[in-house]
């Protein structure tokens, strides 16, 4: 009985919560949120405890007629990831919005809707349904980016929306080609039915382009920095940790399904090359920023580049594939936790200093040690120093590159690490400078620093669990493609 429930609830519960917090008065919304978050935690735990892969047929109508939700271990990992990010961000938001109830009222329902969208994307096995979840996530993100209503935020949100709309149409066009030739929408049936050829390859390229645009892969990244850097801080964290991961995870799922059928070697190399350029260019731009949140936002452009590197090695039947798959998951988690932590910590520091410039960080190491510590720990993961998740991701990428006999990638990965270190420490060194004037410091709730630290610790020490995670994910990729459903 519970099995019938669990997967749909992972989407429907946050949707219901969104409706509830939207209609309820402020004083009820807060406790209601904690009840909801607790419910989500229970739900996700129950899902993970369920060891076997889960498949739920919605409405009792099996594919190809209906839609199925699938919780393999990849999806379960991502559900836990989302839960952890949300736990920290919701805590943080209570402190952050304490002075601005109107923004809090706008934030809450959209945040819950976004949670539903993330879970829906991770669980869905239906191409069209994935399009709907992508739109759900995209429009929610636009609304969140516009939350403050400032003209700059509006401009950023509009840019974001236009990118999302373009991506939506490209995705639909790709879908039209695939559905037109096969008449099915379930990913596993599509993979079985699709015939290699111009139409299917073009369809796949369209889907990949759309998803790369939504994930902000260079050169389709220009919408990202203003939207992420200009949003209110809890939103920046959600956008960078989760929203770009939604489109990326969909891309990864498509890749796992279609790489065995279509010849994607060239496309994979192409994506990896774009990723490499993104790593370098994004880092260089981050180095040039004068404002902390923009620095963190441009760092996302670079980190997204790393997400796309494993496609060079994700070829079915090669020894590098399993390692590359691990690398993708680790990079998703590592960047998610680290970047959210970084934004949250930046938010604390900016609020304390009252301004957005890097020089506002002066003296922060002694005034806001927790936030600086969180920033540094998150930075360690972005750089890829052990035992962070970012390190494990890079370690796996290095291994995959050498297993595939493509050693030049090693050079790129190491250069990327050093560039990252350069911009991370460029920010952190300000914190060690003596404070110019103590009197202008504003109080910040300690809760905010702690929630940033929670995520930073996950990012910086999560790498210790790499072997465990890799063993847990192994059945999803071992023997790929035969092992796929």
């Amino acid at each position: 009985m519970t099995e019938v429930f669990l997967l749909p609830l992972a989407v429907l519960l946050p949707l219901l919560m969104a409706c509830c917090v939207h209609v309820s008065a402020d004083r009820f919304a807060r406790p209601l949120q904690w009840v909801g978050a607790l419910g989500m935690a229970t739900l996700v735990l129950a899902l993970v405890a369920h060891d076997a892969p889960m498949r739920t047929v919605l409405g009792g109508w099996e594919a190809p007629l209906g839609i199925e939700l699938v919780a393999d271990r990849l999806a379960k990992t991502l559900l836990v990831f989302t839960l952890l990010v949300y736990a920290a961000v919701l805590l943080y938001a209570e402190g952050y919005f304490a002075q601005s109830p109107i923004e809090a009222r706008r934030f809450r329902p959209l945040a819950w809707l976004l949670w539903a969208a993330c879970n829906a994307a991770f669980l869905s096995d239906d191409l069209f349904n994935l399009y709907v979840t992508l739109e759900l996530a995209g429009l929610t993100a636009v609304g969140l980016a516009a939350l403050s209503g400032h003209p700059k935020a509006l401009a950023a949100a509009l840019r974001y929306l236009l990118a999302a709309l373009l991506a939506a149409n490209l995705f639909l066009l790709g879908l039209a080609l695939l559905y037109g030739s096969t008449g099915v929408l379930s990913l596993r049936m599509l993979a079985a039915a699709v015939e290699p050829g111009t139409a299917s390859l073009l369809a796949f390229v369209l889907l990949v382009t759309a998803l790369a645009l939504k994930t902000a892969l260079l050169p389709l990244h220009t919408w990202l920095p203003p939207a992420h850097g200009g949003a209110v801080t809890p939103v920046s964290a959600l956008l960078s940790a989760l929203v770009i991961k939604v489109s990326f995870v969909i891309l990864l799922k498509l890749w796992l399904h279609f790489a065995p059928v279509l010849d994607l070697v060239v496309l994979g190399q192409g994506l990896a090359v774009m990723g490499a350029l993104a790593v370098v260019w994004g880092s260089l731009l981050a180095l040039r920023q004068q404002r902390l949140k923009m620095l963190v936002a441009y760092s996302t452009v670079a980190q997204v580049g790393y997400l796309f590197l494993p496609f060079a090695w994700l070829r079915p039947g090669t020894p590098a594939a399993a390692v590359a798959f691990d690398a993708s998951v680790l990079q998703i988690l590592g960047h998610g936790f680290a970047k959210a932590a970084m934004f949250l910590a930046a938010g604390v520091l900016l609020r304390a200093a009252g301004r957005d410039g890097l020089e506002g960080l002066q003296g922060a190491a002694s005034r806001q040690p927790l936030a600086v510590f969180a920033l540094a720990l998150a930075g360690i993961s972005l750089i890829g120093l052990p035992p962070s998740l970012g390190f494990s991701a890079k370690w796996s990428m290095l291994q995959a590159a050498l297993l595939a006999g493509q050693w030049p990638w090693v050079l790129l990965l190491l250069t990327g690490s050093l560039l990252t270190a350069a911009y991370v420490f460029r920010a952190i060194r300000y914190a060690f400078l003596p404070a110019p004037d103590v009197s202008e410091l504003r109080p910040v709730p300690a809760l905010m620093s702690y929630s940033a630290l929670l995520l930073a610790v996950l990012a910086a020490f999560g790498g210790l669990g790499t072997a465990t995670l890799a063993a847990w994910l192994e059945i999803e990729i071992a023997g790929w493609p035969e092992a796929l459903p």
Partner: protein, 111 residues
């Protein structure tokens, strides 16, 4: 045109393709927000035409019901996106008096 043996479906997906790339081009090139949103809708219509026209019709001449449902859902999502876009654009216009986004500043420079 008569030289090409063209059945009815082909006509519609050719039109769909034309509308798609017409919309896409304008969406990329036009600066004005309103025109971008118009172009998005034209492009969307083109994609929907391709989606439906590719599917063989049923024996009674009725289009594939699943494709119809997909297009219906797509239309609703498109209108929701358009409405949101218009609302943001109007708000932006009210605040700044502009009907288009500022030209992209050289990358990486802070505004």
């Amino acid at each position: 045109m008569s030289a090409i043996a063209m059945d009815a479906a082909t006509l519609w997906w050719v039109l769909g393709t034309a509308l798609t790339f017409l919309g896409l081009g304008v969406m990329l090139a036009a600066p004005a927000l309103l025109r971008k949103l118009l172009a998005f809708n034209v492009m969307g219509s083109g994609v929907f035409l391709v989606l439906l026209a590719l599917r063989p019709r049923g024996p009674d001449g009725v289009a594939d019901p699943i494709a119809q449902a997909l297009v219906l859902t797509g239309i609703v999502i498109a209108i929701a996106s358009t409405a949101l876009g218009l609302m943001l654009a109007r708000r932006y216009h009210l605040a700044t008096g502009r009907d288009s986004l500022p030209e992209d500043a050289p990358e990486g420079t802070d505004d």
